[in-house]
């Protein structure tokens, strides 16, 4: 398996080490505030284990996906609130 994979975040390609979750990749790319709450506050991951749902982004077209539970794979398309 390759050491890195290439994913697309809000239209920009980025290379991450294999096995990185989408949430971690977003955090490392300066997009820790990946969502807005219902009243518009910036939000990002908290629990790291799929409980809090604060890390939701759109992954390969599927909205409301918990990014801390998904490992990056080659060609994955991620859309955050910054798109």
């Amino acid at each position: 398996m390759a050491d890195t994979v290439r994913i697309v975040v809000d239209g920009t390609a980025t290379v991450v080490p294999t096995g990185t979750t989408v949430a971690a990749a977003l955090g490392n790319a300066g997009r820790l505030a990946m969502r807005r709450s219902v009243t518009g506050e910036p939000r990002g991951p908290v629990c790291g284990m799929g409980i809090c749902f604060e890390c939701r982004v759109t992954i390969d077209g599927a909205p409301h996906t918990r990014s801390c539970m998904v490992s990056c794979v080659e060609g994955m398309e991620v859309v955050t609130e910054h798109a």
Partner: protein, 428 residues
């Protein structure tokens, strides 16, 4: 819809689940382990991105598989019916899990308590930051404050230090005297004493404070500063990340859905890890917080019981009981102090999913009235985060559990419903 049949179905691949699977498989049962993470280990034994499955987890997985146990990773259970029959979903779609005996090893979640600014990105759980870090979030050279309660804070701080973070301090809310007494009591648990000494060693450079808790997180789009109360005085730290959690809350949702008795916010089990429902056992933190070693011991008891080997289950009971006593000591030493109830101000968001503020919740009579009138607990997390906080702040019990246990698409829910109906038809 895929269907999988087993003799013993283990839900959760943390210490309890893996120990149960290994025990039951070694006894000759046909075991299937279902876990929602991509790799086994649960939370405390979570695999690192770059170094593979944790050694303790790996040993048990190897042992279980050598006796024929199967593992479904990345698979989450969302509904359950009599049988027991469970319904789960993974990347391939929905699946039906039919079995004779279920072992629930659901673990625990961290308890987050709200304080002003806690919703800023960069304020994580303690285990939460570690999990994100193990999954690739870069923590090197980040200034990190670790706060909240419990020995996990030290484990997380040590891990962060190893990964090159600048841990500014560990801020424990429990009084110093209680923690010292707990430390002195560790002679009863030599293995833990050793762990504690090792931890202290790796935290030599990290200041540790007691009677300390967060008061306010500040920043614009991300946390920049953390204000804490330390021994009665306010201190402000410039931070990149905050790792904060106040102990754990047992996960009980699937047990509730199966009809198991839940009391005192934990799944009730007898001396053999049996729940109130025939054919359903429970092991690990779901039965009460007591750490990984207790979870393992309970897993062994449950695994042997599920495989029909009560004799072998008995041999693990004394070990389990000793670990439970450790759990009780943990609970006493790190119980949450009253001052933490005063952390949220009127504007502090308590329900993050629906942005419900503390002032809206204060006048509410009970949790159901609060839910209907303020929407607290109605969002995607279905009250898991705010529920753990409100258990402490208001003494409210968790609400009724209904399917789906996690959000699933309609077609998945429909497939499960149809399969359940077919199952009931053929059973009658």
């Amino acid at each position: 819809m895929h269907e999988s049949v087993s003799e013993v179905l283990v839900i959760g691949a943390g210490p309890a689940g893996l120990a149960a699977a290994a025990a039951a498989a070694a006894d000759g049962a046909d075991v299937l382990v279902v876990d929602e993470n991509t790799r086994p280990g649960g939370q405390i034994w979570r695999a690192e991105r770059d170094s593979g499955v944790q050694s303790e987890a790996g040993e048990l997985v190897t042992l279980a598989m050598s006796h024929g146990a199967r593992f479904f990773s990345g698979t989450a259970v969302f509904d359950a019916a009599r049988g027991p029959t469970l319904f789960a979903v993974n990347g391939s779609g929905p699946l039906v899990l039919r079995t004779k005996r279920v072992i629930l090893a659901l673990g625990a979640t961290e308890r987050q308590l709200p304080f002003p600014g806690w919703t800023l990105p960069g304020v994580f759980g303690a285990g939460g930051l570690q999990a994100l870090g193990k999954n690739g979030l870069d923590v090197s050279n980040r200034r990190i404050a670790v706060a909240g309660s419990g020995p996990l804070l030290l484990v997380v701080a040590a891990w962060l230090e190893r990964r090159g973070a600048k841990v500014l301090g560990v801020f424990e809310q429990a009084p110093r005297a209680d923690v010292m007494r707990f430390g002195r009591g560790l002679w009863r648990h030599p293995a833990k004493l050793l762990q504690a000494v090792q931890l202290s060693g790796s935290l030599v450079r990290v200041p540790r404070y007691h009677d300390a808790w967060p008061v306010r997180a500040e920043g614009r789009d991300q946390v920049e500063r953390l204000v804490l109360s330390v021994g009665g005085h306010e201190r402000t730290l410039d931070v990149d990340y905050v790792a904060c959690a106040f102990g754990f809350a047992p996960v009980t949702g699937l047990a509730a859905l199966l009809g198991c008795a839940i009391e005192d916010a934990r799944v009730q089990v007898d001396a053999f890890q049996r729940t109130s429902v025939e054919g359903v056992l429970c092991a690990g933190e779901s039965t009460g917080i007591a750490g990984a070693d207790c979870a393992r011991a309970e897993g062994v008891v449950a695994g042997h019981m599920a495989a029909g080997r009560e004799d072998l289950a008995c041999t693990a009971c004394r070990w389990r009981d000793r670990e439970r006593r450790f759990g009780a000591a943990l609970e006493r030493a790190f119980s949450l102090r009253d001052e933490l109830c005063t952390l949220p101000t009127a504007d502090t968001i308590v329900c993050r999913c629906e942005d419900v503020a503390w002032s809206e919740l204060v006048p509410r009579e009970d949790e159901r009235d609060a839910k209907l009138q303020t929407r607290v607990g109605m969002g995607p997390c279905q009250g898991r985060v705010c529920g753990a906080a409100l258990e402490f702040l208001k003494g409210w019990p968790r609400g009724r559990v209904r399917p789906p246990l996690i959000p699933v698409t309609m077609d998945v829910l429909a497939a499960a419903g149809a399969a359940r109906h077919r199952g009931e038809e053929s059973a009658s």
